[in-house]
């Protein structure tokens, strides 16, 4: 069972925060198929949020095919997110570290690098989006 947290200063809609926390838990292996999510009632009591918000998050997860609600029992994880293979992750981390070191050697600071990164991500993944 995972426990949800809420970051009220983040500006991210509450239900999206819940969805993202399930995604993160799946990527990190904290949640696996068969695991149960907290009931709406449990989340509501812990975070003092609207139950409809929890249900909306769970509906979103269900639409993604990640969880299934079993009436009277609760909401269960049905599949994990296709995580990246650890070897691949390590390889890209090493390549990225090399790249960052060379950027730093050229006098770029974290802000410059982040701006470059954001631009690159946008142009890389924005295809097909007007």
């Amino acid at each position: 069972m995972i426990e949800f947290q809420l970051d009220t200063a983040s500006g991210v809609a509450t239900y999206l925060q819940l969805v993202q926390q399930v995604h993160d838990a799946l990527r990190l292996g904290l949640l696996e198929p068969g695991d149960q999510l907290p009931t709406a009632q449990q989340v509501v009591i812990k975070l003092a949020i609207n139950p409809n918000t929890v249900l909306k998050a769970y509906r979103d997860l269900e639409r993604e095919g990640l969880v299934r609600a079993r009436p009277g029992q609760g909401t269960f994880i049905t599949r994990s997110l296709p995580g990246t293979d650890p070897g691949t992750q390590a390889r890209f981390l090493a390549a990225m570290t090399d790249w960052l070191l060379s950027a730093r050697a050229e006098g770029l600071g974290p802000d410059d690098i982040e701006a470059i990164y954001r631009t690159a991500v946008r142009s890389c993944f924005a295809e097909g989006v007007a």
């Binding site: 009220t8 812990k46 003092a48 609207n50 139950p51 409809n52």
Partner: protein, 298 residues
């Protein structure tokens, strides 16, 4: 979904002053509705009209399809906690519960007892000796244990410390999750409303400024900033809610359901805080109060 509260041209006048006027809203069931506005905006007046403590000067109001306080059956369907969460100072906690059981046909004694225990209230303590937070919990328990379909709360957390406030809202949300009760609560603490409300009614200067589902409202408002521009030069489908200008720059809070295509703008999403403050600070009687685009979104 049927409306739990439907007001049409509702108004209440005290002498020459309108405490609430031209209030036309329709609140869908199963929601937790935040009623926000500055002091004196008409929040308490609207709630008192809804429970039948006040009679309308003009217009109509229906609650759960009936006339407020029109019959004993109607009274049983609505729970109300007034401002300052009043209780009988001389009666003990358990006497309050007995009173509740006598006065309400659908009294849920189990629920009442469980809540009293959950919040650590001593059944023999007089209500006058309780802390503000405990008294609020007692008042909410009385309103909840009658098992209403609609719960109306007037500034329930305003006088509570942050911990008591959190506990109160947790208890309230537990009831909503468990019984599907509809809730209308007034508050000026937007941070609390942000957590619990999924529907919003903003009152200012005795009028409804905006109402709708929170998600839909947040998704249809944007903050635009860019080179200075006359609001009249904005596309017709962008309604300006708030604007500010320097000699070089303009910032607008606009409402639109269409994408904003102008590349000159930096576009930011709005928070509930931005939204409420923008509508609250609109000058009274502006076009928006009766704008057709600002009615309930379902």
């Amino acid at each position: 979904m049927t409306a739990v509260l439907e007001a049409n041209g509702l108004g209440k006048r005290y002498g020459r002053r309108w405490a609430l006027r031209d209030c036309t809203i329709s609140i869908p069931g199963g929601r937790v509705v935040g009623l926000v506005g500055p002091n004196g905006a008409g929040k308490t007046t609207l709630l008192h009209l809804a429970v039948g403590l006040l009679a309308a000067t003009s217009g109509t109001i229906e609650v759960l399809g009936g006339c407020p306080a029109g019959s004993p059956a109607q009274l049983a369907r609505v729970g109300f906690v007034a401002q300052q969460t009043p209780t009988y100072a001389g009666l003990s906690v358990s006497q309050h519960l007995r009173l509740g059981a006598w006065l309400n046909a659908n009294w849920d004694a189990e629920l009442a007892k469980r809540r009293i225990k959950q919040f650590g209230l001593d059944p023999n303590e007089r209500a006058g000796k309780l802390s503000g937070g405990q008294r609020a919990q007692l008042a909410l328990t009385l309103a909840i244990a009658k098992r209403p379909e609609l719960l109306l709360l007037d500034e329930p957390v305003a006088s509570l410390d942050p911990l008591a406030r959190r506990e109160f809202l947790q208890g309230l949300m537990e009831v909503v999750a468990g019984h599907g009760t509809s809730v209308l609560l007034s508050s000026h603490l937007i941070a609390d409303l942000e957590r619990v409300c999924d529907h919003l009614v903003v009152l200012a200067a005795s009028r409804v400024q905006v109402t709708g589902d929170v998600d839909a409202l947040l998704a249809s408002h944007y903050r635009l900033s860019g080179p200075r521009r006359d609001p009249a030069a904005l596309p017709a489908n962008q309604e300006v809610i708030q604007e500010s200008h320097t000699d070089k720059q303009s910032t607008f809070l606009v409402r639109t359901t269409d994408p904003i295509l102008d590349p000159a703008w930096t576009i930011r999403p709005v928070t509930m805080d931005d939204l409420v403050l923008a509508y609250m600070s609109q000058p009274p009687g502006t076009k928006n109060a009766s704008h057709p685009g600002l009615e309930v979104i379902r």
